[in-house]
């Protein structure tokens, strides 16, 4: 079947089937018809990655990775380069919005059981993307070479010294010297330029895995036939574009009117190895991990716990023993999920405060609860919980909803089918 009447398109497609591919993955790609707006965040993450790469390439054309010039060169971008302020503020706030979108995307997956068979690898590739994003953002934050850039880099790289025996050698190797300095800045820049393209490639695999079995949906049941789905285009292309446009309004409000809201004022002071800032805090999106790190009195164990807090996500598909995907049909897990969300916010707050008084207690309880959630509650609840009866198909659930109360969407957390 020809994808187009256009002779040129046919000629190309016969030799390089890009049009067939697009037709297959967009026009024919069947998607559940009951997706709610939480399903917009995957495409939003893709758009954010694109924005980061485009603005990043423009910044790189004017940025100088040397300890003497980095701060000045960023300021020059802000003050003298045409629309340099726009590129810089888009990139700086873009990192935050990329994480907001990605975290919502991940919690969406946790709520609707999108990691469960046959989507385990899809989920694990997502966790790989999260890890790469964290590394990229951490190294990017070092580039403007402000006080927080320098001291953040010092604190985080120093963590590796906790490993017995080889720890100090690892740190020296990471630094390329005996302190965070020019070689450190240079390699971070090289990697900061490289990793987003690695992320891009992993996103490709992530989408390949997605298109193998298609999207999960708020009901968490498989599509049984054509009555359950709609072609991705035009239904979800339009829905995604609408969501994107609405999201960009929020992004633009921050970029144009509160560009430094999410940043740390300390980073507008040039790096000074002789003067430690009163408080060394990472960017907000890394605060929960920082809280877990500091919750444990032993440095090595703290570092291990911090890494474990991400790695535990890899095995979530096997930790969750429930037969049912969507929390919509899981009366107990549904509540435990929200506790995890609260826990993540609490850990974020802990990470922003000095480990004193009540914050130590909250940090420890929050850390224990985090691991308890994944390692104990997930398997146990899956065994003991009695899920609500599943609807026979997406189409029937949709029809029922039309007659009665709301079903999918945000309302899904409240109403029973």
């Amino acid at each position: 079947m020809a994808v187009s009447q256009n002779k040129l398109v046919q000629w190309i497609d016969h030799r390089l089937p890009v049009f067939t591919f697009l037709d297959h993955e967009l026009n024919q790609y069947p998607t559940p018809k009951n997706l709610n707006y939480w399903w917009n965040f995957g495409s939003l993450a893709g758009v954010m990655l694109t924005i980061m790469i485009v603005t990043g390439v423009f910044l790189a054309m004017q940025y100088t990775p040397s300890v003497d010039d980095a701060f000045q060169s960023v300021e020059r971008i802000m003050r003298e380069v045409n629309y340099g302020w726009l590129m810089r503020y888009l990139h700086m706030n873009g990192a935050s919005f990329f994480f907001i979108v990605t975290y919502i995307h991940i919690f969406r997956g946790l709520y609707y059981g999108s990691y469960k068979a046959p989507r385990e690898l899809l989920w694990m590739l997502g966790v790989v993307i999260l890890l790469l994003m964290m590394m990229t953002a951490f190294m990017g934050y070092v580039l403007p070479w402000g006080q927080m850039s320098f001291w953040g880099a010092t604190v985080i790289t120093n963590l590796f010294s906790a490993f017995p025996g080889i720890g100090n050698d690892i740190v020296t190797w990471l630094w390329g010297g005996f302190a965070v300095g020019n070689p450190t800045l240079n390699r971070f820049y090289a990697l900061h330029y490289l990793l987003p393209f690695v992320i891009f490639a992993v996103v490709g695999l992530h989408l390949m895995a997605l298109h193998q079995h298609g999207s999960n949906n708020p009901l968490g049941i498989d599509r049984k036939g054509p009555q359950d789905s709609v072609p991705f285009h035009p239904y979800y292309t339009y829905k995604d574009m609408f969501g994107l446009s609405a999201f960009l309004i929020v992004f633009a409000i921050v970029v144009f009117y509160f560009p430094n809201l999410l940043g740390n004022p300390e980073n507008y002071i040039p790096a000074n190895p002789m003067q430690t800032p009163p408080e060394i805090v990472p960017e907000w999106y890394l605060l929960p991990y920082y809280a877990i790190l500091r919750a444990i009195p032993n440095k090595l164990l703290g570092v291990c716990a911090m890494f474990a807090s991400i790695f535990v996500l890899f095995i979530v598909p096997w930790l969750d023993t429930s037969k049912v995907r969507s929390a919509y049909f899981r009366p107990i897990y549904k509540w435990v999920f929200w506790l995890l969300v609260i826990d993540a916010f609490a850990l974020g707050a802990v990470g922003a405060h000095r480990p004193e008084g009540i914050w130590i207690v909250i940090g420890r309880v929050g850390t224990i609860y985090y691991f308890l959630h994944f390692l104990v509650l997930m398997p146990l609840i899956g065994w003991f919980e009695r899920p609500l009866p599943l609807p026979p198909s997406i189409a029937e659930a949709v029809l029922k909803k039309r007659g009665g109360g709301a079903l999918a969407g945000a309302a899904a957390t409240r109403t029973k089918p």
Partner: protein, 267 residues
């Protein structure tokens, strides 16, 4: 209707989450030093809000304060004399900027390779009071006066904090032991600042005849410093208004289109 309910909630959620997370991420400087500071003075500014712009007269008066007083100790290395010109600057003409720059001498090398002093040109960055950090430290009792270019963005509280510093000098309360050469300031973390009170009533004679009270001077110089920390602020806000208007229209159109596309589907 589902979309009508979910979307505002979502947008609000994102903004609130961002704001909540941002707040604790910057502990107030004063708290960090383990000292109580009074709340920052509540002053209003011409540049506040989405449509606020810099009052050009205040900018010029603020620049006068910087030139006559602060520039004795503080550099502003990131700002050029050129920046002062035109509507995006302080409103000076090219000729005025040239004259302003020429009042300063700057170290350079002549065509024979000999070090010389020459009058500054508009393309030069503001001439710094000290040749290097050690000289600045020696001249100021061991404390380095920080560069003021980014000052407003580099402190919690921004404009209000710097206004507080400039108007917050007091006699040290009884029982507070002051280190030598230090001055008591309400808003500085730890209250002991190495800067002597730089502004008093009538510290300058304003070129435009405005009465030079301490509050007026502080207000003007802070307005100038806020402009200097982000000289593109007005351009940014103007661009933002256009972008957001466009996005609002586009979101409306796309919402209609999306509803049309979905109108034939039970979902």
């Amino acid at each position: 209707m589902r979309p009508r309910r979910v979307l505002p909630a979502l947008l609000a959620g994102a903004v609130i989450a961002a704001a909540v997370l941002a707040q604790p991420a910057r502990p107030a400087t004063a708290q960090a030093a383990g000292e109580e500071a009074p709340p920052l003075p509540d002053v209003s500014w011409s540049f506040e809000g989405p449509f606020g712009t810099f009052d050009r007269a205040a900018l010029q008066r603020g620049f006068q304060i910087y030139t006559e007083i602060c520039s004795a100790c503080h550099s502003m290395n990131l700002v050029t004399y050129d920046d002062l010109a035109g509507p995006s600057g302080l409103g000076y003409t090219e000729a005025e900027v040239k004259a302003i720059a020429a009042q300063k001498q700057i170290a350079d090398i002549d065509k024979n390779g000999q070090p010389i002093q020459r009058p500054a040109r508009p393309s030069d960055h503001f001439v710094a009071p000290f040749p290097n950090e050690s000289a600045a430290r020696t001249a100021n009792n061991g404390a380095v006066p920080p560069d003021l270019s980014d000052m407003i963005k580099a402190r919690d509280g921004g404009a209000r904090y710097v206004y507080g510093i400039l108007t917050g000098f007091r006699d040290a309360p009884k029982g507070v032991e002051m280190r030598s050469g230090m001055n008591y300031n309400l808003y500085f973390p730890g209250h002991q600042i190495a800067m002597p009170q730089p502004l008093q009533d009538n510290s300058v004679q304003y070129a435009d005849g405005t009465k030079a009270t301490l509050d007026q001077e502080a207000h003007d110089v802070v307005t100038f410093l806020t402009w200097a920390a982000d000289p593109t602020t007005e351009e940014r806000k103007r661009t933002g208004a256009k972008v957001i208007l466009f996005l609002l229209a586009m979101t409306g159109v796309l919402y209609g289109a999306k509803r049309r596309v979905w109108s034939d589907i039970e979902h």
